[in-house]
Amino acid sequence: MALSQNEVLVGLAEIVNEETGIDVESVQMGKSFTNDLDIDSISMMTIVVNAEEKFGVKIPDEEVKNLLTVGDAVNFITSAQG
């Protein structure tokens, strides 16, 4: 069953927290991964791999560069769940 946008946000925040230690509350839709959350490229790829696993979706490499904000990622995952 497809998760709601908010459920994806909560799940993604957990992944970000586990990888980086950033509080789950700080992982908000408008936040930029690099500018606001200070996430480096290797952490970003780890988050992508873990998100694919957790949400059962495929996030193509060429798509990752478009996921600038948490909202971008949440929206992509939500729609990719089909």
Binding site: E18, E19, T20, G21, I42, M45, T46, V49, E52, E53, K58
Partner: protein, 411 residues
């Protein structure tokens, strides 16, 4: 004129304790850190050896969740030991470009490597995590310490199997002697209690199979020894030029007076039965210390509890010390800790430093029926040492590596 090198900080996490003091106290009390393993994989794979020296304090109880996710267990142990040594040294003001790291491992990030391969086989290449390479590389522990302490004077990794930890400490000496750098954090680590490693060592009949009596399995010099016991953890020392240590009013545990490596070129795993390569390492290290064999008052032996290795080391010592060998108290501390592979030399260096500093040689446990082929004065209960002494710590590794370090009382 070479600068004198001194030891100003100690850190250890071992099967005997999560820090240096706890490990040392347990060692003096003759405790064993060897226990039956409680992992599911033992029965899953029907592993023939069911015990080892698991670290008394697991890294997840000390480090943050992110640190445990981004560092292989070997690096986790390394960082824990290095932080303790650094805090013990009490260095607050230093030049990062003059701080170096010499940190060894025998095997490297084997848990990361094999977990990642399992992931690849089960879930495909997209699930292999991007941190896999930096976590499995053998320079990972040294690099993690370098990042943690802001060491910009060079980060290097000795890899010489079970001689690695001692070689790393020996490698620190030259750059300190010239004054090129002020401080080195040196040591070694290992986290290889893995079904594959146990199976592989067991396959070459290197491991004790005393599954019913794990605490009595590591028994160097005993006639009934049947192999070594794998263990995990790390040891780290802070080394400084005497000049740098005195300028900041540091406490000094001992002088690191020499360190030397040789190689056997004899056999990939078997020690040279004549012990000539090992003997040359002892003599080389003593020469560097400006000392003679007769000056040595304590030996922390490599003594892994294998039938061939313990005799080969004895032959090497006999070659160096002759009839005087019987006058030197020898401690085989792997009897308590098990064999930390790349970490062994580091924790044994720490035990040697503390033996000098506390003026007591630690006991060798489980020596019930001494091997008549090995005529040594083995310390079996803590024994007083003199005020002004020289002590050596030996390590030998598969590949024919021989490494010896020499410590001297500092007054």
């Amino acid at each position: 004129m070479n600068k004198k090198v001194v030891v100003t900080g100690l850190g250890a996490t071992t099967p005997l304790g999560g820090d240096t003091k706890t490990s040392w106290q347990a060692l003096l009390q003759g405790e064993s850190g060897i226990k039956t393993l409680e992992y599911d994989w033992l029965s899953q794979h029907d592993i023939p050896v069911t015990f080892a020296g698991v670290a008394k304090v697991q890294p997840k109880d000390v480090l943050t969740l992110q640190e445990t996710k981004r560092l292989d267990p070997s690096s986790q142990f390394a960082v824990i030991a290095a932080r303790e040594a650094w805090a013990d040294a009490g260095i607050t003001d230093f030049v990062p470009e003059r701080l170096a790291v010499e940190f060894a491992t025998g095997i490297g990030g084997i848990w990361t490597l094999l977990d990642a391969y399992d992931t690849l086989k089960e879930k495909g290449p997209r699930r292999v995590l991007p941190m896999t390479v930096p976590m499995l590389m053998p320079n990972g522990p040294a690099a993690a310490i370098g990042m943690d302490l802001a060491a910009r004077g060079g980060v290097r990794t000795a890899v010489s199997a079970c001689a690695s930890g001692t070689e790393a400490i020996a490698n620190a000496i030259a750059r300190l002697q010239t004054g090129e750098i002020d401080i080195v954090v040196a040591g070694g680590c290992e986290a290889a209690i893995h079904p594959l490693t146990i199976s592989a060592f067991a396959s070459m009949h290197a491991l004790s199979r005393r599954n019913d009596e794990p605490a009595r399995a590591s028994r160097p010099y005993d006639i009934n020894r049947d192999g070594f016991v794998m263990a995990e953890g790390a040891g780290a020392v802070v080394l400084e030029t005497e000049e740098h240590a005195l300028a900041r009013g540091a406490k000094i545990y001992a002088e690191l007076a020499g360190g030397y490596v040789t190689s056997d070129a004899h056999h990939i795993t078997a020690p040279d039965p004549e012990g000539t390569g090992a003997a040359r390492a002892v003599i080389g290290a003593l020469n560097m210390a400006g000392a003679k064999p007769g000056d040595v008052a304590h030996i922390n032996a490599h003594a892994t509890s294998t039938s061939v290795g313990d005799v080969a080391e004895y032959q090497a010592l006999k070659r160096v010390f002759g009839d005087d060998l019987k006058k030197i108290p020898v401690s085989a501390t792997k009897s308590s800790t098990g064999h930390l592979l790349g970490g062994a030399g580091a924790i044994e260096a720490i035990f040697t430093i503390l033996a000098i500093h506390e003026k007591v040689a630690p006991p060798t446990i489980n020596l019930e029926d001494p091997d008549p082929e090995i005529d040594l004065d083995v310390v079996t209960s803590p024994r007083a040492l003199g005020d002004n002494i020289l002590a050596i710590s030996n390590s030998f590794g598969f590949g024919g590596h021989n490494a010896v370090v020499v410590f001297r009382s500092y007054n």
